[in-house]
């Protein structure tokens, strides 16, 4: 999940929103098995991506060196080993760099509608009514294949280590075991692919804004606020019973929310805390928060990562059968383009909880602090 800020106002961009969305839709492939015809890597090159993450993309001209300062772990998780990623996973990833995919993935142009914390918003350089872009995608087919390959290995490992499974999808191995260590190395490689993917998409978003609006890169002013993983296990140091310990923190349905002053919080944000990005649904709003000391102490530096669904995908399909979501959203001032009608129905706003209520709970519990609310104006979906 990545958030970009811009130097553009909502009013300035509004008349060209349809063109921007159309161009994003044409230039950032989305939908089932989406792939790029203009960026197909050799297997050897792809293994470089798995090792270097976002910095590989920047070395190829997709973005600026400064982008890395605003990415979790600098856009490269250490300990990644491309050799642990199967040839089949590499094959799936070769032409998927710079693609969105389907499901709940999206690129959303929005604007800063409300600011709750002036000081933090200043540090994050988020201004009232300024245009923002959210990029929500991950490691694509490569990541699913790594998962699939290791589920097969973990089913065998669970037998080997005598672990009784209530559900086979929960197959596992001890962290300190050959299987556990190999998985962490492969998962980190997949995370690096995800960082590179969002970096390549960022470069396309910048180019599209510049081309459609006829602006220089400086005038468009698109820069990275932050890029944070949504599903990952990482080795981190935390205090447990008064003692510093090195732990594996697995955030699934959760996101990192490190406090002010933490060495892994980027220098520009160190006084206010690590930015936390929480997407809502495409019809309402998303939130920017910052991490807190309390989250660090109580939840190993973690907070929620999204609204969560309230309608099943099957129920959403049924509920939206006779509706034109594109027109409904357009009436609310939101331009939407989607590869598949089914995905659009499954992702309809009513399918999700109201993220405002979810975010308020996190804010009141002190697990992260509200900074700004972003409202969508243009969305591309898979």
């Amino acid at each position: 999940m990545r958030l970009l800020r811009s130097g553009l106002s909502r009013e300035a961009v509004k008349p060209r929103m349809k063109d921007l969305v159309e161009s994003l839709f044409r230039n950032v492939p989305s939908g089932v098995g989406s792939h790029r015809k203009d960026l197909r890597l050799e297997a050897k090159e792809l293994r470089e991506v798995l090792l270097k993450g976002a910095s590989w993309a920047i070395s190829q001209g997709f973005g600026l060196g400064a982008d890395l300062d605003a990415i979790e772990a600098g856009g490269r998780i250490g300990g990644a080993d491309p050799e642990e990623v199967s040839d089949r996973a590499v094959e799936r990833g070769r032409n998927q760099l710079g693609t969105l995919g389907s499901g709940n993935h999206f690129v959303e142009i929005g604007y800063v509608a409300d600011i709750y914390d002036e000081k933090a918003a200043r540090a994050l350089r988020l201004e009232q009514d300024a245009i923002t872009v959210i990029i929500h995608t991950g490691s694509r087919g490569l990541g699913y294949q790594v998962c699939d390959d290791f589920i097969a290995a973990m089913l065998r490992a669970a037998d080997k280590y005598g672990i009784l499974l209530p559900d086979r999808q929960l197959c596992c191995a001890p962290l300190v075991s050959e299987e556990g260590e190999r998985y962490l190395r492969a998962m980190s490689a997949a995370a690096n692919f995800a960082f590179a993917n969002r970096q390549v998409i960022t470069a396309f978003v910048r180019r599209i804004f510049e081309e459609v609006l006829g602006l220089s890169p400086r005038e468009a002013g698109l820069s990275v606020v932050y890029d944070v993983c949504h599903n990952i296990a990482k080795m981190e140091e935390h205090e447990v019973d008064g003692r510093k310990r090195r732990l594996c923190v697995h955030r699934k349905g959760a996101t990192r929310a490190f406090p002010p002053g933490h060495p892994e919080t980027p220098a520009a944000y160190r006084a206010v805390g690590q930015p936390v990005l929480i997407p809502g649904d495409m019809g309402r709003y998303s939130y920017v928060l910052v991490g807190t000391e309390r989250a660090y102490k109580e939840t190993f530096g973690s907070t929620c990562h999204g609204a969560g669904r309230v309608l099943s995908r099957a129920a959403a399909r049924k509920a939206g059968r006779h509706r034109s979501l594109v027109r409904e959203l357009e009436d609310r001032g939101i331009v939407v383009r989607s590869e598949g009608r089914m995905t659009l129905l499954e992702e309809m706003p009513e399918a999700y909880k109201d993220v405002a209520r979810v975010v308020d709970v996190c804010d009141r519990a002190g697990l992260s602090k509200k900074v700004a609310r972003l409202v969508p104006a243009g969305v591309i979906k898979g």
Binding site: V32, Q145, E346
Partner: protein, 145 residues
């Protein structure tokens, strides 16, 4: 045992908050796998305009039938995603030791003629089951969306 079927087949969509699932019924294991493959096609794209001009062969060997079902459906998702192959007719042969040989008849995806539906990442083991029904076998499988 051997079976074949053509998409679309009858199947039930399962309610699950975050993901999508299917329930298929058949007289034996080979037919169950063939019908699951055809149901998956119907989830991924509209099978109606798919011509049967190309074929793919899938060979799998697993230690039990549940693992075999997940592997089978994931092979199909891989074919759709990486080779852009759309299948319409599914022929499946399974021997007693959970060895599967399948032939898929279909064609390559063409944006002008084919209609994609849902994007699925993978078949999962979550709540996976193959069990006897009143007169047949029933399989339920959830897909990560």
């Amino acid at each position: 045992m051997k079976a074949c079927c053509e998409s679309p087949v009858e199947y039930r969509l399962l309610e699950h908050t975050a993901d999508l699932g299917i329930e298929v019924r058949a007289a034996d294991l080979a037919e169950l796998f063939a019908r699951a493959g055809a149901a998956l096609a119907d989830l991924l794209y509209d099978p109606a305009p798919v011509a049967e001009t190309l074929y793919r062969v899938v060979l799998l060997d697993e230690r039990d039938r549940e693992i075999l079902l997940v592997r089978w459906l994931n092979e199909l998702i891989f074919l759709r995603e990486v080779e852009e192959f759309l299948w319409k007719r599914v022929e499946v042969e399974i021997d007693g030791a959970f060895r599967l040989r399948a032939v898929l008849l279909g064609e390559a995806f063409e944006a002008t003629r084919h209609v994609p539906r849902t994007g699925l990442k993978a078949a999962t083991y979550h709540m996976l089951c193959i069990e006897p029904g009143p007169q047949n076998l029933v399989a339920r499988v959830l897909f990560d969306v």
